[in-house]
Structure formats: structure tokens, C-alpha cells
Symmetry: C2
Subunit: 295 residues, 2 copies
């Protein structure tokens, strides 16, 4: 009989990430003997049942976590405080509580104080996603070759951190440990700001006069198409990310705005050196990315 990392793994939230963990835990052996799923919308839970990707669905989060030795919060981060309050009394002593939220300081602030003593809280963030959402959008290979960042607060039980690391490695991820505030700044730059810009430029296009708008869509060239792909992501998730990484996001947006204004000035006054330098830097970053095999 196989050696399982966890006896019972409970997933709270069954969107793209939660349903991908469920599928990966089944597809790659040795992760969990039993998988229990909870989701707030009854429709989602019914669909998860129908898909047959977990052993048991449970409409009540406290019942879902009872007896689990690992619980992962997979809902939008804005729902974490309410979920943590609901499940805290039902968590088993010695259990690991983890999450997949895109903002880590807010999660530690919201969830940390509610974790019962004897339960080990290991915040995590898999850098993986697509523009699709919901339980049908998940797939077992989502985390393959992608980073998962762990941000355990000081004093977190080392064995629990190691177990969460093992979980993500078995699902194909590379794992790193990072300080929560640093995580939030890096992610504000590489993920949250780009999404804010993409949502915004789609809105700007939408505001053009009706006749033009039709043509904006009809002739959408490659630049705009890439932006709309980013902008197609889950609204509830991104609302929560923006509000829960406010300070870092606003700082990165302020830096970006200064740079965009400098570029506007260069375009207005025909400063070709400045423009070419900025374009070359974009290419350089692209090359570095390719060298780092993130493509």
C-alpha cells in the first residue's frame, strides 16, 4: 500500500486552483488518501460532485475540515477571514492549514490570529493560473514547472513547512520560501500591476465611441489581444488581490505612471534615444526570462 503524505486533504474553494489541486493529488501518487471538497456556491459543489474529482463534497466548511490533517484555503483571499473563523473550532490538533492566496501579508493578518494553537499555519502561493475559472477549468498539470512560494511566519513548525513543500513538489512545482512583505512587492510588480493595466486598458477601449469600439474589436491587433487575455481572469479573485495588496500595488502603479509620463514626454518631443532605450530594456527582460526558462 502506498505511503500517503496526508490521510485526509480538505480543499475549501473549488475554482481553477482548488480543482487543479484535487486533480493533481489524484494524478500524482502519494499525496492524499482521501480528498474532501467544500465550495460556497451550491452549483460549484454539485459540479465537483458530478466531475468526480474528489472523494467527498461537504457543504459546511467546518464539517469539511473535521478529521483532515491538511486543509487548504482555495477561495478568493477576501473570503479567508470568514472561512478561517468558521473552520477554526473544527480543525484537528496537529493539522496543517495552508492556502493558495496571491497576497501573503493580508492572509497572515486575517487568518493568523484565528488559527488554534496546535494547528500549523503554512501560507503558500502557487504562481500558476490561466484566464479561466471554475471547477471545470482545472487540470492536473497546472502546477508543473511553476513556482510555489511559501511564506511561513517566524516560528512555524518546520515539519509542517516541509510537508507543504513536499505536496507542491509532488504536484510538479518548484518551491521557494520568501518573506511575506517581499513576496507582496515582487508579486505586485510581476502580476498584480500587469493585471490592473490590462483591466484598465480594456475599459479605456470600451469607452471609445460606439463606431470606433466596434473597430477596436474587429481589428484588435496582437498587442490588444494579449491584454484581453490577461483581462479575462476571475473578477472576484482580482478584486480581492487588489484590495489586499493595496500598498505594494499602489507603489508599483505610481512608479509605472512616472515612467509612462516620461515615455509620453519622449514621444511628444521626439526623444528617440529615450524611446529606443526603453524598448531595448523590454527586449532584455524578455531574453532574461527565456534564459531563466520561465517560458
Amino acid at each position: 500500500m502506498a505511503e500517503f503524505l496526508f490521510r485526509r486533504l480538505t480543499l475549501l474553494g473549488m475554482g481553477l486552483i482548488g480543482s487543479s489541486i484535487a486533480r493533481a493529488a489524484r494524478a500524482y501518487g502519494g499525496i492524499a488518501e482521501e480528498i474532501v471538497a467544500n465550495a460556497r456556491p451550491p452549483k460549484t459543489l454539485a459540479r465537483v460532485q458530478e466531475l468526480g474529482i474528489v472523494d467527498r463534497v461537504e457543504a459546511d466548511p467546518a464539517r469539511a475540515v473535521a478529521g483532515a490533517d491538511c486543509v487548504i484555503l482555495c477561495a478568493p483571499v477576501g473570503a479567508f477571514a470568514g472561512l478561517a473563523a468558521a473552520i477554526a473550532p473544527a480543525l484537528s490538533p496537529g493539522a496543517i492549514l495552508s492556502d493558495v492566496g496571491s497576497t501573503k501579508q493580508s492572509v497572515i493578518r486575517d487568518v493568523g490570529p484565528l488559527v488554534p494553537s496546535g494547528v500549523h499555519f503554512v501560507p503558500a502561493h502557487p504562481l500558476a493560473g490561466t484566464e479561466y475559472s471554475g471547477p471545470d477549468s482545472g487540470f492536473a498539470e497546472l502546477f508543473q514547472g511553476r513556482w510555489c512560494l511559501l511564506t511561513p511566519p517566524p516560528g512555524t513548525d518546520a515539519e509542517s513547512v516541509a510537508n507543504i513543500e513536499t505536496l507542491w513538489r509532488r504536484m510538479g512545482s518548484m518551491v521557494d520560501v520568501m518573506e511575506p512583505a517581499h513576496h507582496d512587492r515582487v508579486l505586485a510588480m510581476v502580476s498584480h500591476l500587469p493585471h490592473l493595466l490590462a483591466f484598465t486598458v480594456c475599459g479605456t477601449a470600451d469607452d471609445l465611441a460606439d463606431e470606433t469600439r466596434q473597430q477596436v474589436l474587429q481589428y484588435a491587433a496582437s498587442g490588444f489581444r494579449d491584454f484581453t487575455r490577461i483581462a479575462a481572469s476571475d473578477p472576484e479573485m482580482w478584486r480581492d488581490v487588489f484590495l489586499n495588496n493595496r500598498e505594494a500595488l499602489l507603489e508599483m502603479l505610481a512608479r509605472f505612471t512616472e515612467d509612462a509620463q516620461a515615455m509620453a514626454r519622449a514621444v511628444r518631443w521626439g526623444d528617440t534615444d529615450y524611446i529606443v532605450d526603453k524598448i531595448e530594456r523590454g527586449r532584455k527582460i524578455r531574453r532574461s526570462l527565456i534564459e531563466l526558462k520561465q517560458e
Copy 2:
């Protein structure tokens, strides 16, 4: 023997677009009996010769256009005025002069006055491209299913417009005719602004402190990766596009900046309705795009 649209087609500039036209003209029959290519960098011309994708290479643009019944400017738009001056005396009476530039008012302003009487000037812009450049990056299928916009000035010879339309349709494009100023506004929104934002955000990331920068690259999530793909495009081409569509680009950037500031304010003050509305609009545009089969 096949009926050819042109007896001799001359391409001035052999980057992604020029070399793709050469390949497409060969791959899809009935376009040109002979293809002549010119490019400014001797290295590019040597490589085109080596690739064998045209019938003849010619280092002098005036010699390249001699005897051609169709000439297409495929260089960055900033080089058009110089090229047009160089070839004007050598253009054959009755020949069609066209281009593939991303900005149309500037092309009509720069090239129009240099076109000898009896030569028919038909400005065109294929909405196709990749993040690669140079003669090796072209491929015959680049224009398949993509729009090509023609912006003929009033009074342009109708038969010449029809021939350029036929050329693009035979290479697989859909063709539309548009007023030049309108073209420049629509393209500023769907292509030039997104590229400016992508170049800028890469620069903003590059300015982060060294330690953070490494992690920006290492953990680049999907949002940032899409931006770097856009930002990897040809610097010389984009410099020229920005400078030659200055007014429309600055207007769209100003609109965008207002919208980004409004979004920043909503994030700062926790205006969830505003944020969700903007995100939903991005999704709506995405869905419209998919319905219009631009994906």
C-alpha cells in the same frame, strides 16, 4: 501558364513582414511572376539571397524598383521618406506603390508628395506580426485570416486599389478600406498604446533594486510574461510608430492614464463596485473578441 497579378513585385525592406510577403507570394499562386528584394543592411540582403525566398536581390532601391509594376515599402515607417525620394525617379509609369506601415497619416504625408504622376499610391497596413523580426522570422501563413486595412487618399485609381486588395486576399487576408485619420486612432488604441504600456512596465520592473529584479524575473507570473512577449518586438519599428502616430497615441495614453488613476483611487479607498465593474468590462471585451473570431 498561370495568370499573375503582377509581373514584377519589388519589396523594399525584408524583415518579418517583407520576408513573409515574399514567402506568401511564392506559396499562394498567381501573385507575382518575379519577386525582387531590397534591404538596407547588407547582412539582411545576403541572408535573403541565402534563404532563396526571392528571385533577385538588389542593393540599390532605385535599381530594385526599375521595371516593377508593384512596389511595397516594408521598412520601418521612419525610413519611408528617404526611400520614396530614392525610388521616385525609377518608378515605372502605371506602377502601384504600396506599403505596410502601421501609421497611415504619416505615410501619406511623407510619401504622397514624392509619388510621380502616373504612379498609383495605395497605402496599406496588414494587422499581423509576431514578436520576432528579421528575414528568418517571416512565414507564408502570417497574413492568413488577418485584416489588411487600405487607406487610399481620395482620387486614388480604383483599379490599383482593387489589385492591392486582390494581393492581400490571395495571401489569405481579409481587406477593409478606412479613412487614414480613423485608422491611426483605432490602431493607437488596439496596438500602439498596448505596446507603449508593455515597454514601459518592463522598464519599471528593470528599475527595481537588483535583488528584487532577479526575483521579478524568476517568479514572473503569467501577467508579466504576456507583457514581455509584447515588449520583445522590433525597437526600430516601434520607435517609428510612436513618433509617427504621436497625436493619436498621446491622446489614448492620456485617456488610459485618467482611467488608471481612477482605478488607483478605487483601490486606495476600497471601492469594490468600481473595481469589479472595470474587471467585468475587460471580460466583456474578451468575449466580444472571441465572438468576432479574432482569436
